[in-house]
Amino acid sequence: MSEPRTLFDKIWANHLVDTQEDGTCLIYIDRHLVHEVTSPQAFAGLRAAGRGVRRPDATIAVADHNIPTRPGARAGVIENEESRIQVETLERNVVEFGVPYYPIEDVRQGIVHIIGPEQGMTQPGTTVVCGDSHTSTHGAFGALAFGIGTSEVEHVLATQTLIQRPARNMQVDVEGPLPAGCTAKDLILAIIGRIGTAGGTGHVIEYTGQAIRDLSMEGRMTVCNMSIEAGARAGLIAPDDTTFGYLKGRPHAPKGAAWDAAVAVWKRLPSDPGAVYDTVVRIPAGEIAPYVTWGTSPQDALPITASVPDPAQIDDEDRRQAVQRSIDYMGLRAGQPLREIAIDTVFIGSCTNGRIEDIRAAAAVAQGRKVADSVRALVVPGSGLVKEQAEEEGLDRILTEAGFEWRDPGCSMCLAMNDDRLAPGERSASTSNRNFEGRQGPGGRTHLVSPAMAAAAAVAGRLADLRDLD
C-alpha cells in the first residue's frame, strides 16, 4: 500500500518527465493558453532561435486584454496603436507557428480563462499554463494550472515542458453551507482576508469542504481564480460529478469510449484519505458574509457590515504603514462604515466574475431597479458565448433597462489596458480580482465585490449590503 497522496501530488507525479540530482524537475504541460500581451517576445525568441511550437494541438490563442468592449468597436480597427500592434502581432504569430486561434469576430472569443473551460480544453488531472497569473482559475477542474512569465511561455511553446520544483500542499477547508447572500467571491475574499496576500506563497491550495463542493463550476473557477491573490502557485478543487457534468459534450472534451476512459482516470485523482498537507486552514462557512475590500491589497477584505480599520490599533509597524497608505490612497478615513462609501463606477466582468452565473446574479439584483444617477455601470461578459447565452435568457434587457451598459467581451476595466478605465480619484465597485493602486487606471480606487454586491452598489450609489435591498 503506497503512501496516501494529495491531488497535487498525483498530478505532479503523472507529469514528471525527469528529475535532476538537485531536485529540479522537468514537468510536462498538457495545455497552453496564449494571449496577445505576454506572448510576442516569446514567439520572437522562437523565431530568433529557429524553433517551432512542439504541440500546436495542445495550444490555443486568443486576444483579450487589449480588445475594445464598446458595442460595435471591435468591427473596426483598434484605435490605440500599441494595442493594435499587439493584437496584429498575435494574429501573425498564430499563422506562422500554426497555433489554433479564436479571432475577435468569432463568437468563441473571450477572456482566455473563460474560453479554455468553455471549449473543454481544461480537463481534470491536466497541467495548464498561460502567461497570466489568473491561470489558477483552471484549478477548479482539478487541473494543476498556474501563471508563467514570457520566458516560460517560450519554453513551453518550444518544449511542452517547464523546469519546476514541487510546491508544498495547503488545504483550505470550508465546512458547512454558505449563508444566504454569500457567493464564491465572498468565500475567496474571506479566505484571502484570513491567510493574507502572501499566505499561500510556495503552496498549491486545495479547497475542500461542503461549501466548496456545493459550488457550481462557475463558482469554483471564481475561488481558484483568486488563489494567486493569496500568493499561491495554484488552487485546486477535486473533480466530481459537477465537473464531469460541465465538461461533457464540450468541443475539446473526450467523446464516446474516450469519455468513459477519461472519467475513470479522473475519478482516481481526488486526494486519498489520510493524505498529509503541509499547512491546513479551516474556516467555518457560517462565518462568511458578503465581503468588500477597503484597501489596495486583496487581503484588505471585510464584511460589508464592518468599518475601515484604524491604523492606530495595529501593532506591526510595516502593516500599520501599509494600512495608512491604503487609507490615504483610497481617500477614506479610519472607522468609516463601509456602507457609507459612495462609488462612481461599477464593473461587472473579468476572468473572476465574467461567466453566465455572474451575469445572472447581477441581473437578479438589477431586475426592477435602477442604477443610481451618479453611477456608470458596465457589464462585460467574459466571452462571446457568455454574451450570447445571457442574451438568450434576456439578461441584457434586464440590465440595460436598469441602466447598465451591455458590452462586448474582454478583460476591460479589470486592468484598464483597453479604453475602459477609471479617471484619477474615481471609485469603483468591481467584480475583478485586484484592488492595487492604479490597477483600473492611474489614481483609480477599487473595491472588490461579488456580482450581486456590485449590482447592489450600482443601485445604491454606494457600497451596499445586498441583504438590505428593498
Binding site: 494595442s83 502567461g131 512569465g149 514570457t150 516560460e152 484598464a416
Partner: protein
C-alpha cells in the same frame, strides 16, 4: 541571458510591503512587443507624477540612489501579475540584485530568467541591509553570487541560499530552453507513454 557578475552598489531602500507588479510597471506599459526599453517606466506611478515629472521624494529620484543596481525591499515584493515586464523593467533600469525576505513565486522565477538575482533573507538581516541602504551613497553593498555572500558597508558578511541550478544558469548566462532541448529523448518517451494512457489529450 546576461551573466550575473558580482555587483557593488548603493542599495535603494523600498521598505513598503506588498509592492505588486502593477507598481513595478503599470499595465498600460505592457502594450509592447519588445523586451527592451521598459526601464523608463519602472515604478512609473511612484516615480513620476501624472504629467510625467519626477516625484522628488521617490527614492530612485534622489541623487544618492539614482541608478542603483541593488534594491532592498519590503516583504512579498513582486506579488500580483505574471508579467515578465516587471523584471524586464528592473533589469533595463540597471537593477541586478533585490534583497528582501520573500518574493511572490512567479516574479521570483521570472527574475532568474533575466539576469536578476532576488535574495531571500531572514527579516533581521534584511533590516540591517535596509538601514545600510538608507545611508545612501556612503554605504555600498556587494552581492557575490559565486560565493553566496553579501558584504555590508562595514565589511560584515551575510551568507545567502540560492537554488544550485538557478545559480549555475545565472553565473553562466544560460538559456534554459537550450538545456531542455537536450533532454528531448525524455520528453519524447514521456509523450509516447502518455499518448497511450491519455489518448484524448492528443490530436489524432
Amino acid at each position: 541571458m546576461r551573466k550575473f557578475e558580482t555587483v557593488t552598489s548603493v542599495g535603494a531602500p523600498l521598505p513598503q510591503i506588498n509592492i505588486d507588479t502593477d507598481k513595478i510597471i503599470p499595465a498600460r506599459f505592457l502594450r509592447t512587443i519588445e523586451r527592451e526599453g521598459l526601464g523608463r517606466h519602472l515604478f512609473n506611478d511612484m516615480r513620476f507624477d501624472s504629467e510625467g515629472n519626477e516625484t522628488p521624494d521617490f527614492v530612485l529620484n534622489q541623487p544618492a540612489w539614482r541608478g542603483a543596481n541593488i534594491l532592498v525591499v519590503g516583504d512579498n515584493f513582486g506579488c500580483g501579475s505574471s508579467r515578465e515586464h516587471a523584471p524586464w523593467a528592473l533589469a533595463d533600469y540597471g537593477v541586478r540584485a533585490i534583497l528582501g525576505t520573500d518574493f511572490a513565486d512567479i516574479f521570483y522565477n521570472n527574475s532568474f530568467k533575466n539576469g536578476l538575482l532576488p535574495i531571500k533573507l531572514p527579516a533581521e538581516e534584511r533590516d540591517k541591509l535596509m538601514e545600510d541602504a538608507e545611508r545612501g551613497e556612503n554605504a555600498r553593498i556587494t552581492v557575490d553570487l559565486e560565493n553566496q555572500v553579501i558584504t555590508r558597508p562595514d565589511g560584515e558578511e551575510i551568507a545567502f541560499e540560492v537554488d544550485p541550478f538557478r545559480k549555475h544558469c545565472l553565473l553562466n548566462g544560460l538559456d534554459d530552453i537550450g538545456m531542455t532541448m537536450e533532454r528531448a529523448e525524455s520528453i519524447d518517451s514521456f509523450e509516447a507513454s502518455d499518448r497511450i494512457a491519455r489518448p484524448w489529450l492528443y490530436a489524432e
